[in-house]
Amino acid sequence: MRQAGSISALAEGRKRIFWVLLGTGLMLMLGLGLYGIKMTHKVAGPLFKVSLYFAKMRDGRLDKVYSLRKGDQLVDFYEHFKHAHRGIVQMEKDDIERIKATIAAAEAAGVGDHASIGELRTLLQRKEKSLE
């Protein structure tokens, strides 16, 4: 009787291990899968956003850069990008300032209708538009 009880207890234990293994495996798969999707989204989201700004910058559009969503990862990386964007905007602003000063000096000297001034005006227009 006692032997039969022991065998039955061991069989119960084996069954318990099987179900715990199966349950843990399934929960692990589900949990890690969901966590993986959530966390990679928090990394891929900012990268996607930065890629969109890359495309804009490539096409010569340097408009405002917005902040990341709350909870997004790569905050430091994004800050570096914002600084880089500001750096390029500053370069364009410096060019604009210099071109404007040259055009003003040329107009004051009476050579405002020179072909080169026309080229500078076109360049100025394009640069100003890129910052809008």
Partner: protein
């Protein structure tokens, strides 16, 4: 216009600006030490990398520990059952007491060996997983670190060469987008320098011929600006 830099992309796997400048190519500055892959460099973004590594290793440690405990419990229950049954079979027979103790000791030793094996496998699993995750997250953090360095240069208005990622690095597409943007911005700036320089040359000729000192002064300032810009584009 020959001194306007060309938009060459270096392909040797070194960081942009890390390629030593040739003699006479201007600059003359001390070349940076080339980036070397060191063990300490594997955790480039500690916050990002350790977060994932810690979570996965803790999770795998807890799971393997719990399952190990269950297996040990089952094994221990089986050993106890055998010992109990043996004791019942040899009840009252003192001559078999030694044999009984021998079996009990052997069972206990096997149970202990199982615990050691499971602890070993658990530690091995955690170590292998941690190392694998350090390497994998490094392959993501590495390119981000490199791009961040280029961002810092762009923030200072320096648009030099961009070098390729190392083989095996992740985020190749993202880096490709970055490089494309960098090249486009650089090429546009170079083209702008050419336009401004041509205008300055033509206007200077006219200003000098017609005696316009204010315009000459403005063109001198423009020239200084262009010289500075050309240095930034090297």
């Amino acid at each position: 216009m020959s001194d306007v830099p060309s938009a060459t992309v270096v392909q040797d796997g070194k960081l942009g600006g890390d390629v030593p400048k040739r003699d006479g190519a201007g600059g003359g500055g001390k070349p940076r030490q080339p980036y070397k892959r060191k063990l300490s460099n594997y955790l480039l973004d500690k916050r990002l990398q350790l977060r994932y590594i810690l979570l996965v290793t803790v999770l795998s440690g807890v799971i393997s520990g719990s399952l190990g405990y269950l297996i040990y419990q089952q094994r221990h229950a089986a050993s106890e059952s055998i010992e109990r049954d043996l004791a019942a079979l040899t009840q009252g027979d003192k001559s078999l007491k030694g044999f009984q103790e021998q079996v009990a000791a052997s069972m206990a030793a096997e149970d202990r060996a199982l615990v050691y094996k499971m602890v070993g496998v658990g530690i091995g699993l955690v170590v292998i997983l941690s190392l694998y995750l350090v390497i994998m997250t490094h392959k993501v953090a590495g390119p981000l670190y490199k791009i961040s360095m280029y961002f810092d240069r762009m923030a200072d208005g320096r648009l030099g060469n961009v070098t390729a990622l190392r083989r095996g690095d992740m985020l190749q597409d993202f880096f490709g987008n970055f490089r494309e943007m960098h090249e486009a911005v650089r090429t546009r700036m170079q083209s702008d320098v050419i336009t401004m320089e041509s205008a300055a040359v033509a206007l200077r000729a006219k200003a000098t011929a017609e005696g316009k000192p204010e315009l000459v002064d403005a063109l001198d300032t423009l020239d200084k600006h262009l010289t500075q810009r050309k240095k930034q584009l090297l």
